[in-house]
């Protein structure tokens, strides 16, 4: 029951329910690293047979010791910085002791702020949809193996363990309970997956690479932890469901029980976890096999200088440097494929037109091409990777960077109308021809020759006497007539020349 429940301000009286309080714990696998957190096995185990990606260290064989992956520390520091966290002078690792078959050592090596701030990052804050979301801490830890259950009934169930994943580097991001609602949650997760991809840490498209648990409560009420959420898409649904469930409880004056609930993706509801809540007896111990790692100011500075531009920095650059409208910049900056293409084909003059071509025409063409491309010849287990590659391939099939630049240059310099550019792009994508070939074949050049246009303008005026009459008093009518001229020339008429001609003819007439 909420703290003020006793005062009679319950939902039953028609008072609005208290506002939801949402916090997240996100586990992001560092799939772009070469090796696991403490041994040389591969960080991305996908597509391998069971227990093929293991060694004595990640199998917890007697006598083995963890060897900290220095690149994981560097990338973890970058993520922490990107989330506005303070970077501690030195970091340490701890053992979280508990027994589970997927845990080769029966403890997990993780981070903790037991002796001062020694996690890779802490106390950060990031602006999402106009509101600040606090980052409590960012920590490095190892992923456990994976349990697979076979057999029809519980009685003859077989438990199998695959340790390929054991020791995969994870960065865990724990937020403050600052989210105001599902929309902010969604934007944050989108921003975060863009960020980790952009930093070369993780490919978020890989199945299971990014996982999240959510803590949901109504202000003043008990906290419910939701686990078993397999995608960010489901996370939002689970949170929406859980808020509704708690509000329903609240309106009936029922106390929300503090518990762990699981997301049932098939039924789209949260259900109480079957496992009994065990006492949190993790007996944390400092991991003495890993000496404290000093992260000096020099290291931080050199990492900062190596950090790729963030999505928000990129958006800012697109808007302020190239005068791209904010909505277009949003779309362009949040997708690495297209923002890279933009930066490769961009000149100071063509930037605006280029952004326009990419977001209004090219994205649709690439999506269509990727959808019809034959399935990539890859193992099903790397689905996400294969899909991304398919899209990248489709983009380079549709148009080359040079072709894109020439197209945008032609529009920006006034040599081609936007409409014609669209046709040219489709033609280039369909035939694979160069811009020069397509523009000469299709006669897509802009008609700006007055003598050529005059006849068309005059015929439009005679065909539209009503409009021509009104045009002197109503500028919108002039635009209507410009449109008619465009129609007749299939979009090739230079709009400025057409407008001038129309105005002249009408005033003369």
């Amino acid at each position: 029951m909420s703290r003020d429940g006793g005062s009679g301000s319950g939902g039953a009286d028609g008072t609005a329910a208290p506002r939801p309080v949402i916090g997240l714990e996100i586990h992001c696998q560092m799939t772009s690293l070469k090796s696991k957190l403490f041994c040389p096995c591969r960080a991305d185990y996908r597509g391998m047979g069971p227990n093929e990606n293991v060694c004595p260290v990640c199998m917890g064989m007697p006598g083995t010791l963890p060897r900290l992956n220095a690149e994981a520390v560097r990338k973890g520091t970058m993520i922490a910085m990107a989330l506005g966290c303070a970077i501690p002078e030195r970091i340490s690792f701890f053992r979280k002791n508990y027994f589970y078959p997927d845990l080769p050592k029966n403890f997990q090596i993780t981070q903790l702020d037991m002796y001062g701030d020694t996690c890779i990052g802490g106390r950060g804050s990031i602006l999402v949809d106009g509101g600040a979301v606090g980052i409590r801490r960012v920590q490095l830890e190892e992923d456990p193996g994976r349990m697979i259950y076979e057999g029809a009934s519980a009685r003859n169930r077989i438990s199998l363990v695959d340790y390929n994943r054991a020791g995969t580097p994870l960065v865990e991001i724990v937020t403050e309970p600052d989210f105001e609602g599902p929309r902010q949650l969604r934007l944050f997760l989108q921003m975060l997956s863009d960020m980790v991809e952009n930093l070369g840490v993780c490919n978020p498209a890989l199945e299971g690479a990014m996982r999240a648990d959510a803590n949901v409560s109504l202000e003043g009420g008990n906290r419910v932890e939701i686990k078993n959420i397999s995608s960010f898409h489901d996370l939002e649904k689970a949170v929406v469901f859980e808020i509704a469930r708690q509000e329903a409880q609240h309106s009936r004056d029922l106390e929300v029980v503090q518990e762990t609930r699981h997301w049932d993706a098939a039924r789209k509801i949260t259900i109480p976890s079957r496992l009994k809540e065990e006492e949190k007896g993790y007996r944390y111990l400092l991991e003495a096999d890993i000496p404290w790692v000093r992260i000096d100011a020099e290291t931080v500075e050199s990492l900062r200088s190596r950090m790729p531009e963030s999505v928000s920095e990129k958006r800012e650059r697109f808007v302020s440097l190239y005068m791209i409208p904010p909505q277009v910049a949003d779309v362009l900056s949040s997708d690495k494929l297209y923002s890279d293409l933009f930066d490769a084909a961009r000149t100071d003059r063509n930037a605006r037109e280029l952004a326009n071509i990419i977001t209004t025409d090219l994205m649709g063409l690439v999506m269509a091409a990727a959808a019809t491309a034959p399935a990539a010849d890859r193992d099903a287990a790397d689905g996400g990777d294969a899909q991304k590659k398919k899209r990248d391939d489709a983009a380079s099939d549709v148009i080359s960077v040079d072709g894109l630049r020439e197209l945008a240059d032609a529009v920006a310099s006034g040599n081609m109308a936007r409409n014609s550019a669209k046709q040219a792009l489709h033609e280039m994508a369909k035939t694979g021809k160069s811009f020069a070939e397509v523009s000469s074949e299709m006669d897509l050049g802009l008609v700006s020759d007055e003598s050529e246009l005059l006849g068309v303008v005059q015929s439009v005026i005679s065909e539209e006497p009503q409009a021509a009459k009104q045009a002197s008093s109503n500028p919108n009518t002039v635009n209507y007539l410009v449109g008619k001229v465009m129609q007749k020339t299939r979009g090739k008429a230079d709009p400025q020349v057409t407008l001038d001609l129309l105005k002249r003819c009408l005033s003369e007439g």
């Binding site: 083995t64 010791l65 002791n97 050592k105």
Partner: protein, 491 residues
């Protein structure tokens, strides 16, 4: 002894003899192997002896190398043994436990690969208290080892097999591991040299962890110089162990300057470690300090208040770490045959762990308790505070006044097998003088000094500051040189 005396050679004598052609590596090994066969019936120092034919083939290779002038390594075919908690590829590694009865290590410990690289021939895996918990080898699941000086007595522990084997000429030198005195204690009881290096000097990769924040692999040998030779082979930075010290600081060549003497060094004799000692033991340390003064050192008494709290702190910390380190033995990924009928994880693990012996079980239960959420503040965290204070006290002593701290290695004389095995707390107190070096990560050595009226060995312990291993070896060598001649180990 019925065997020819060549196997009584020290390590340095062995290397000189084999490289000068006085005897061959094959002869020496062959003598050692047949001696092992006969001696093992009395001492039970080894858990497994490696295949003799394969070992002899390697010795012949070394001999050919010596003849043709090739490099054969610093150890040149020397027979050595290693404690059974050190992994050797393809060889059984049981840690003296039934829990790992059939476990064959899939890789070499760094110390093992370095011994091999310098031409060492590892003849056997030595007996030990289960998972190195104990100081008598009576907690070995495979029966206790016996003290070569008197087979009714314990050889000390937990590296009791290594010390007994070295004392009884079943190898020239051995590797033990020292968590709270496990190299020095049996060395003292068996009248051999036991060396515990500065923490981080020797790689622990392949040493099965018991209390990983304080333990080190260390050599057991018949002379201080032999220990220095073996230390030089196994020490140094290892990419498999992030806690190893940098190459420059862990420079080998521990024999270099070892004869430099103790003149001008200041030696502190620790009150708290001598006061309650057996009178014969206390007198030995007094004589040792006179020897050192005669050699030019200055000796005085020093008090270290925190030593009185060291044993409870040590047992609290090691138990907490042991409970974590030994949690992996759930019999899921390796281990022994155990039916999985009606498998349920928790009950399966509980049953599997029933194979741990009494001392391991005791310490794991203790460790789980002292580090648990409700009790860590009263026990584990307090133990860490004691450790920090003790470390400061010891560091101050070295910084302000002393090069060496001296005491008996063990405050009492070796005792009979079975005499103390039912009294764990009184056994714990036997560790009083050795745990300080581990808790403070300092190097320490036990040097054979005397034999009691009853014919039992007495060792003297010396400790130095971190990374002052060369200084420590020099001081130990000075004591060894000055001491009155020791009797031979009885046949």
């Amino acid at each position: 002894m019925n065997h020819s005396s060549i196997i009584r050679a020290s390590a340095l004598e062995y290397v000189r003899g084999v490289t000068s052609g006085e005897f061959t590596a094959e002869e020496f090994l062959s003598e050692t192997l047949s001696h092992i066969e006969e001696a093992e019936a009395r001492y039970n120092a080894y858990l497994h002896v490696e295949d003799g034919q394969k070992l002899l083939a390697r010795a012949r290779e070394i001999d050919r190398g010596i003849k043709s002038g090739q490099k054969v390594g610093l150890l040149a075919g020397m027979p050595v043994s290693i404690k059974d908690n050190i992994c050797m590829r393809g060889s059984r590694t049981t840690c003296g436990s039934r829990m790992l009865e059939g476990f064959v290590a899939p890789y070499d410990a760094t110390a093992v690969s370095r011994l091999h690289a310098e031409g060492g021939i590892i003849v056997a895996k030595a007996n030990m208290d289960e998972f190195a918990m104990g100081l008598t080898t009576e907690f070995s699941a495979y029966g206790p080892s016996r003290n070569p000086w008197n087979t009714g007595y314990v050889p000390g522990g937990s590296s009791g097999g290594s010390a007994a084997a070295t004392a009884a000429f079943e190898c020239v030198a051995s590797l033990g591991s020292d968590t709270g005195g496990s190299v020095r204690n049996p060395a003292s009881f068996c009248s051999v040299v036991g060396y515990k290096p500065t923490y981080g000097l020797v790689s622990r990769h392949g040493l099965v962890s018991y209390a990983n924040s304080i333990e080190q692999i260390g050599p057991i040998a018949r002379t201080v110089s032999d220990a220095a030779l073996v230390l030089g082979v196994i020490a140094g930075r290892d990419e498999h162990d992030d806690t190893t010290a940098d190459a420059a600081a862990a420079d080998c060549g521990y024999l270099e300057g070892i004869e430099g003497g103790i003149e001008g060094m200041r030696v502190g004799i620790v009150d708290e470690m001598t006061e309650g000692a057996d009178p014969e033991v206390a007198r030995a340390v007094e004589r040792a300090s006179k020897d050192l003064e005669a050699a030019g050192a200055s000796c005085e008494r020093i008090s270290l208040d925190m030593v009185g709290y060291s044993v409870p702190s040590y047992y609290t910390i090691t138990a907490a770490e042991a409970a974590s380190n030994l949690a992996r033995y759930d019999n899921l990924r390796y281990g022994y045959d155990l039916s999985v009928d009606g498998y349920e994880f928790n009950s399966y693990v509980a049953e599997a762990r029933g194979r741990f012996g009494p001392e391991v079980t005791r310490r794991m239960i203790l460790g789980g308790y002292v580090s648990s959420a409700g009790h860590a503040g009263r026990y584990y965290l307090k133990a860490l505070k004691v450790r920090a204070k003790l470390t400061r006290e010891v560091a101050d002593a070295f910084a302000s006044s002393y090069d060496i701290l001296m005491a008996p290695t063990v405050p009492i004389l070796p005792f009979r097998i079975g005499e103390k095995s039912d009294d764990p707390v009184s056994l714990f107190m036997v560790d009083l003088n050795t745990v300080t070096a581990n808790l403070t990560r300092r190097p320490a050595v036990s040097v054979p000094y005397a034999v009691s009226a009853g014919g039992l060995p007495i060792g003297v312990q010396m400790m130095a500051d971190s990374m002052q291993d060369k200084t420590l070896l020099r001081a130990a060598r000075a004591l060894e040189k000055r001491r009155a001649p020791l009797p031979e180990v009885p046949d």
